[in-house]
């Protein structure tokens, strides 16, 4: 799992370097106003990190915490979609400006990765909910939790980058 995260780090490191270079050398960069719902989304995602950590430590009866995490994760994705809609309503599209291109790109790439995490959560939570015991159950929960925390941290980083770097 750590190795997979290493690859994810490289993907986003590449995007970040593109971001920095593209911004640094261009004359056409216009800061965009980030929708304020992003703050709410961030809070939701942080809360989901707390619930999955709870699930990880509970070991046996972790299914409701896992379910809560998947709901929060789905809520985050829905919130991100709302943020996109608000930007579109404000006339800010993917191709409008490099800063908006990067906004859609980074949130989109993060969203796809998080969606993978939500699917994994559905799978693990679903099996745990049906009361299934399987040999690697705790390991599966641990791996999902690690990935989830990582996605949380990655979002904090991206949010910071878009807030501060986008100016």
């Amino acid at each position: 799992m750590w190795l997979a995260l290493g690859a994810v780090v490289m993907v986003f490191a590449a995007f970040t370097s593109a971001y920095v270079v593209r911004k640094g050398m261009s004359l056409d960069w216009q800061a965009i106003r980030l929708p304020s719902i992003l703050w709410l989304n961030t809070a939701v995602l942080l809360a989901s990190s707390a619930t999955i950590e709870k699930a990880r430590r509970e070991r046996q009866s972790c299914e409701s915490w896992l379910a809560a995490t998947s709901v929060l994760g789905a809520a985050f994705l829905a919130g991100q979609y709302v943020a996109w809609q608000q930007l579109r309503a404000a006339g800010v599209f993917l191709a409008s400006n490099p800063s908006s291109s990067f906004f859609y790109l980074l949130t989109g790439a993060h969203g796809v990765h998080l969606l993978g995490g939500v699917l994994a959560l559905f799978y693990v939570a679903g099996r745990a909910w049906r009361g299934a015991e399987w040999p690697n159950r705790q390991a599966a929960v641990e791996a999902t939790a690690l990935y989830w925390h990582f996605m949380d941290g990655l979002w904090i980083y991206l949010f910071f980058l878009l807030q501060v770097g986008g100016k």
């Binding site: 799992m1 190795l3 997979a4 290493g6 690859a7 994810v8 780090v9 490289m10 993907v11 986003f12 490191a13 590449a14 995007f15 370097s17 593109a18 270079v21 593209r22 050398m25 261009s26 004359l27 056409d28 960069w29 993917l94 191709a95 490099p98 291109s101 790109l105 790439a109 994994a120 799978y123 693990v124 399987w134 040999p135 690697n136 159950r137 390991a139 599966a140 641990e142 791996a143 999902t144 990935y147």
Partner: protein
């Protein structure tokens, strides 16, 4: 996600019985390894055919080929190749060879087949992931080939796909659907490579037999391991760059496309992007990619030279550190592909110094190979010939690299045939020689039969002389300033004089490719009619030679091998035979 978590216990799967589970969607690392190998075999013949078409066109540009028109109605209207078709052949040749041959066969093919056996494991750590990697790679290949048959044909922008050309559908035929398919294909290939790399690293770290410490691993395992690490880091960057390029093409963003471009008399509606940004991202992947192609070959050559010199590899520790150093330095030299892009002379200097410093571990390896050969009781088998051939072409390609690594010299050589000669020698031919050495060496293990030795030697000599005949003169063409990527030389006065040399190279290429048919015949004939191979026909020491040929489904038939010694204990004084298997208990320990 569940199967991603633990490395152990996940690989205990029963031997499949049905044809589809056994040979198509197999979980067995040996079958997957062979699938990769045969995919690369198909790819290499497609790639060679494309190169022959190009060589033919360079020498006989007006020759009429009716069948070419049938294949490429737009690119060869009237049976004569257009410059655009030439460029698309070049693009596809490079892409197929670099990704689906040089990255696929040495690492995914032989690595998959041999690595688990050499470390005493039953399979790779994640068999399902392994199967997925292969089939995604396969789909990537099909998507790439499909680019030939869409409107406009295959892309023209080379295997490096520099924007703005690669980012603008209106930039030429093949830059529409063809280029999009190209990007999708490479994205699939990158994703599959990431999964594969994950599998290789976990397998190497977690599934080694008892007693097999890292410093007792065969050098082949070391190179597959380090190659996987490079792949994990590099392909992620290519994937990211590919996403950006795709968005420039289909979503109207301007990551790479600058403002004010005029294409076909129309101003392009993009602004402020940076083509250089793509070059940085691409070569940050692209240079490690070169080592992804060559490192496994170095491992095989070390293994083969030690076996057939009947001597321990000279300087095992130095070899390991050289592999690590090459891998690490490989990430710091991408700028040497961009010396002419107007970079600051200070950056160029830094990239140049780092580039030159890769010569040090490379030379360590070369001298250690020669040191291993020195005074050995050499057995000139076919794999040994190819291993020694590898050292020869590696040195040749390395020396021309010393010229190209210096910015002032590169300013002249860049975009000439000198570069073509350099990378074909060191990346193409050297890696291919590694693949050949590996094929002749492990064929008995993989198919339980020996390949024909006289045919193998014939194949070696024609190929060895052939590649020097094809790529040697290209150095000279580079010296006289012959640009690469020109579809024809007839219209250019100072180049027209090089026609005899081009003719020589084309004929040499035809003969060399012909010799590969000998190899193909030998491969398939030996598979069914070759002499039966014993368990250890080469009298080698590593674990794959302790199991039957071919190995059973779980490699060690339920046994767990224990390793007592390093991988290359040949001609040990006082030993009963001139080699000691890795799983032989040490006499001293057995006495306790």
């Amino acid at each position: 996600m569940a199967e991603l978590a633990p490395a152990h216990a996940a690989h205990a799967h029963a031997a499949p019985t049905g044809f589809i589970r056994k040979y198509i969607f197999s979980l067995d690392h040996k079958v997957i390894g062979l699938q990769y190998y045969f995919l690369a075999l198909v790819a290499v013949f497609v790639g060679m055919a494309l190169s022959l078409l190009m060589r033919w066109h360079l020498v006989w540009p007006q020759s009429h080929m009716g069948w070419l028109e049938k294949l490429f109605p737009a690119g060869a209207a009237g049976g004569v190749m257009t410059p655009e078709l030439y460029l698309s052949l070049m693009t596809m040749h490079g892409t197929i060879m670099v990704f689906f041959v040089l990255t696929t066969a040495p690492q995914s093919g032989f690595g998959n087949y041999i690595l688990p056996i050499q470390i005493g494991a039953e399979d790779m750590a994640f068999p399902t992931l392994n199967m997925l990697s292969f089939w995604v790679t396969f789909v990537g290949f099909v998507v790439l080939i499909a680019a030939f048959f869409v409107t406009g044909g295959a892309p023209l922008s080379g295997w490096t796909a520099y924007p703005p050309m690669s980012a603008l559908p209106e930039a030429g035929p093949g830059e529409g659907a063809g280029q999009t398919l190209w990007i999708v294909s490479l994205a699939l290939f990158s994703a599959a490579s990431l999964l594969g790399a994950l599998n290789f690293i976990t397998t190497t770290l977690d599934l080694r037999a008892r007693g097999l410490s890292l410093m007792r691993m065969p050098l082949t395992c070391w190179t597959w391991f380090v190659t996987a690490i490079l792949g994990l880091l590099a392909f992620a960057v290519l994937l990211a760059a590919g996403v950006l390029l795709l968005m420039d093409r289909i979503a109207g963003t301007s990551f790479f496309v600058p403002a004010g471009l005029v294409v076909s008399d129309r101003v392009i509606n993009h602004s402020g992007g940076s083509p250089l940004l793509w070059q940085h991202l691409f070569w940050f992947f692209g240079h490690p990619e070169v080592y992804i192609a060559i490192l496994p070959g170095m491992g095989v050559v070390s293994q083969v030279i030690s076996t057939f010199s009947r001597k321990p590899i000279f300087g095992y520790r130095a070899m390991v550190f050289a592999i690590l150093a090459i891998g690490a330095l490989g990430f710091g030299v991408w700028g040497h592909h961009m010396f002419i892009s107007g970079m600051s002379p200070y950056s160029a200097m830094a990239f140049s110094v780092l580039t030159m410093s890769i010569g040090v571990p490379s030379a360590i390896k070369t001298f250690n190979w020669i040191g291993t050969l020195w005074g050995g009781k050499i057995r000139f088998t076919t794999p040994m010939m190819f291993a020694i051939g590898f050292v020869s072409v590696f040195v040749t390609g390395g020396l021309s690299g010393m010229f190209l690594g210096q910015p002032p010299v590169d300013l002249f050589f860049h975009d000439t045939y000198f570069v073509v000669a350099h990378f074909h020698m060191i990346m193409g031919v050297a890696s291919i020689f590694g693949i050949f050495a590996a094929t002749y060496y492990w064929f008995p293990k993989m198919f339980g039969r020996m390949m024909n030795d006289p045919l193998g030697k014939l194949h070696f000599w024609i190929t060895f002389i052939g590649v020097y005949a094809v790529f040697g003169p290209m150095h000279y063409l580079g010296l006289i300033g012959h640009p690469r990527r020109y579809a024809e030389i007839t219209g250019v006065n100072y180049l027209a004089q090089s026609h005899p040399l081009h003719l020589f190279m084309t004929i040499a290429a035809l003969i060399t490719v012909g010799a590969q048919l000998i190899f193909l015949f030998n491969l398939f004939w030996s598979m069914f009619k070759g002499k039966k191979a014993e368990m250890n026909p080469w009298e080698a020491t590593t674990l794959e030679w302790t199991v039957p040929s071919p190995p059973p489904h779980d490699n060690f038939a339920g046994a767990h091998p224990v390793v007592y010694r390093g991988p290359y204990e040949y001609s040990v004084p006082g030993a009963p035979k001139d080699y000691i298997m890795q799983n032989d208990p040490e006499p001293a320990k057995a006495a306790h």
